[in-house]
Amino acid sequence: MAAAESSERLVRLLTHDSEILDRWVEAVAEILRGRISRAELERELTDLYQALGQALREGGLNWRAEEYSEVRALLVELSRNRAQHGFTPTETATSLFACKDVVAPTATSSAEDISAYLQLGRLLDALGLFTIEAYARTREEIISAQAEQLLELSTPVVKLWEGVVAVPLVGTLDSARTQIVMEKLLQSLVDSESEQAIIDITGVPAVDTEVAQHLLKTVVAARLMGAECTISGIRPQIAQTLVALGVRFDDIVTKATLADALRYVLRRIGTEPAATGGPK
């Protein structure tokens, strides 16, 4: 039973001194320089330390084993916390690697202790990599969640007047965003029974042929549904670019500013009162 013996020795290495945990917390606290409270750090590392001891006793050195599930869960939680609080990957991983320094052999250590230390080192390295993976995964989740929020935030449909809705577009337009704008605008036309829509592109820094194409499609789709679409806020530079690209907004009403567009739209409604179904 060499495996059982070596894991026994590892457990002894990790637990022979009651100060190991304290020294570990000390080392990590120094690295993180007070950006995480001492009490919280102690709680985290105590949990981890106990889970690690337990796992070593029962599961040996295979960190993928069932017995290590608690250790892995704790590590995932730890890296999640670190990623959310803006710690670097190095700082996250060192929380674990610091344990190696604490149990490092001295000149008086026996050969068995040194070999146990090396085994423990390998185990901790593997767990460290696992931590980094969890860290990276959390970061990616944060990034994709932010991108999604940005999509939702950046496309509000506002009601300007009875029967008039507007979408002020801000920021760079790509196909995905334009698609969302298109769907939201058309849906709001149905929901609010508006016959006039204004797309304001004052806040759009650049328009290429693809985006222009999407705008055209939106206008045609709105027309198919029985509504009229006006595009406003075309800046001089964008007008020049569009003409240079050969894009033509021929049968679409375009206005320089949102105010002009609103005035035009109100006149359309005003001169054709029956178009809004009359007073309700």
């Binding site: 198919l224 549904m225 029985g226």
Partner: protein, 125 residues
């Protein structure tokens, strides 16, 4: 036997409300029926309500344009009402802009549009 789409008479306007998924044969039957009814009732307007229509293909798109052309020839104006955003997007992606077909958001607005059209043509006449 395929279902036929009912054509309702509402004053001098014919109301076609499409509630089922359209098969090609249904579409052709509808065109026949519609032309027949416009002549027998002397309708001056046709409202095609596609609120319940969730799926369109190019054939249905062309049917709408055809129905409008036929009605116009028989002196009745066509208004397509209640098109869903998804349907509108699909038609645009298919490259069908339904030129010559008038559209309105709701049945109410469609009827108002026909009413107005008749008033102006009466002024002229």
């Amino acid at each position: 036997m395929t279902d036929r789409v009912p054509i309702l008479k509402l004053g001098r306007v014919l109301l076609v409300s499409i509630q089922i998924d359209l098969e090609d044969q249904t579409v052709l039957d509808l065109q026949d029926d519609l032309a027949e009814r416009i002549v027998t009732t002397g309708a001056i307007g046709v409202v095609i309500d596609i609120t319940a229509l969730e799926i369109v293909d190019s054939f249905v798109g062309r049917m709408l344009a055809n129905a409008a052309a036929i009605s116009r020839m028989l002196d009745a104006e066509t208004v397509v009402v209640g098109m869903r955003p998804a349907v509108a997007i699909t038609l645009v992606e298919l490259g069908l802009s339904l030129g010559g077909v008038r559209t309105a958001l709701t049945l109410e607005k469609g009827l108002a549009l026909l009413e107005r059209g008749r008033a102006t043509s009466a002024d002229r006449g």
